[in-house]
């Protein structure tokens, strides 16, 4: 037999999809995507590196959480709708239970002075995390005046003036497409 570059691996069952994405959901803190690549491509071999990049491209393109979209796309490739349902239910089940319990704790203790200050401190810390994330995402635009102009426009209308995202999003995307969509190297 001729040897393939990649060893053939058995396709995952629906239960494998459920459990595999369940593991991703529980690992997922502060960016699931690097984990997702390692799990899906290297550890489990469900996708080749090129397939992963292609599906991720689609998922980042459409509305919805990237990792939730990815679970749907991967599940659908193997078993259609039922595969997609297995994968996203696996991804969300454990985090949903955990977040529900956290909500229960919050609603019960939010009025106590100690916990109120603790939650406020965590929220202030999360503000710092998000600021750092915004800087990281904007990094490739550092020397890109037209990109920065769009960023400033979005920040001014949505971040400062709090205008509604619908229909503004589509106007801003159109402006960005005109300014940044040209063929550049």
């Amino acid at each position: 037999m001729t040897s393939d570059l990649q060893p053939a691996r058995p396709a995952p069952s629906r239960l494998d999809l459920f459990l595999g994405f369940g593991k991703l959901g529980l690992m997922g803190f502060g960016g699931v995507l690097p984990f997702a690549r390692r799990e899906l491509v290297e550890t489990r071999g469900w996708l080749s590196a090129a397939e992963f990049a292609d599906l991720l491209g689609l998922c980042q393109f459409l509305p919805g959480g990237n990792i939730a979209n990815l679970s749907i796309a991967v599940g659908y490739r193997f078993y259609g709708i039922s595969g997609a349902a297995s994968a996203i239910c696996g991804l969300l089940l454990a985090p949903a239970i955990i977040v529900f319990m956290i909500g229960e704790v919050y609603d019960r203790f939010r009025d106590l002075p100690v916990t109120r200050h603790m939650f406020a401190g965590i929220a202030a810390g999360a503000g710092g995390l998000l600021l750092a994330l915004a800087f990281k995402i904007a990094e490739p635009l550092r020397k890109d005046l037209r990109g920065l102009l769009v960023l400033a426009l979005v920040f001014g209308t949505i971040g400062v003036l709090h205008w509604p995202l619908l229909p503004l999003l589509f106007i801003l995307l159109a402006v960005s497409l005109v300014l940044n969509g040209g063929t550049r190297r």
């Binding site: 997609a84 202030a124 600021l131 995202l165 940044n180």
Partner: protein, 178 residues
């Protein structure tokens, strides 16, 4: 604050689902502006705290959506928010998968992605702004935010450790301000 019915919750989160270009963090400013400022479902303080708690939990950070559903309408709100938020974008994705085969290699795909990047960056910056403004009620909390930003930007400390430190400092602030 007004408490929404389950239909209000379903309608709003289904619409938000289809507006979530650039993922969960890019949706944050609209979540806050819509739910706290326009609909008055929850205070900005509660919004910022619930967002931070969803960040501290494992799982996609957009799990703040069902958490808000629970806060405003209990278990029913939790389930309705979860389904209403994840279903529409999932159906759209499934419908797009066949079109994508033909679209991915067209020049428009690369153009749209280039156009989306600065918009996403602006939306995440706006989300950061709404959390910071909601959370930083006085100089003490501004200092926590600044410390958190500098730590994440210039060290490799785990984000969870930074959030935990924020909680501890917050409690310490209780005595500091007393």
């Amino acid at each position: 604050m007004t408490s929404p019915g389950l239909i209000d919750i379903a309608e709003n989160f289904a619409e938000l689902s289809l507006l979530a270009f650039g993922g969960g963090n890019a949706l944050l400013p609209e979540l806050h502006a819509r739910l706290s400022e326009r609909l008055h479902w929850l205070s900005s303080t509660d919004f910022a705290a619930l967002f931070a708690l969803a960040q501290a939990a494992p799982g996609p950070n957009i799990m703040v959506v069902p958490l808000i559903g629970k806060h405003v309408a209990g278990l029913g709100g939790f389930i309705v928010a979860l389904v209403a938020f994840f279903l529409p974008s999932s159906v759209l994705l499934l419908l797009s998968m066949t079109i994508w085969e033909r679209f991915r290699d067209s020049p428009w795909s690369a153009r749209l992605r280039r156009a989306l990047l600065p918009v996403t960056a602006g939306l995440v910056a706006s989300g950061a702004m709404s959390i910071v403004v909601s959370a930083d009620r006085n100089l003490f909390y501004v200092a926590i935010t600044a410390l958190s930003f500098v730590t994440i930007r210039f060290s490799r400390l785990h984000p969870l450790a930074v959030l935990a430190a924020g909680g501890v400092l917050g409690i310490a602030g209780l005595w500091w301000s007393a």
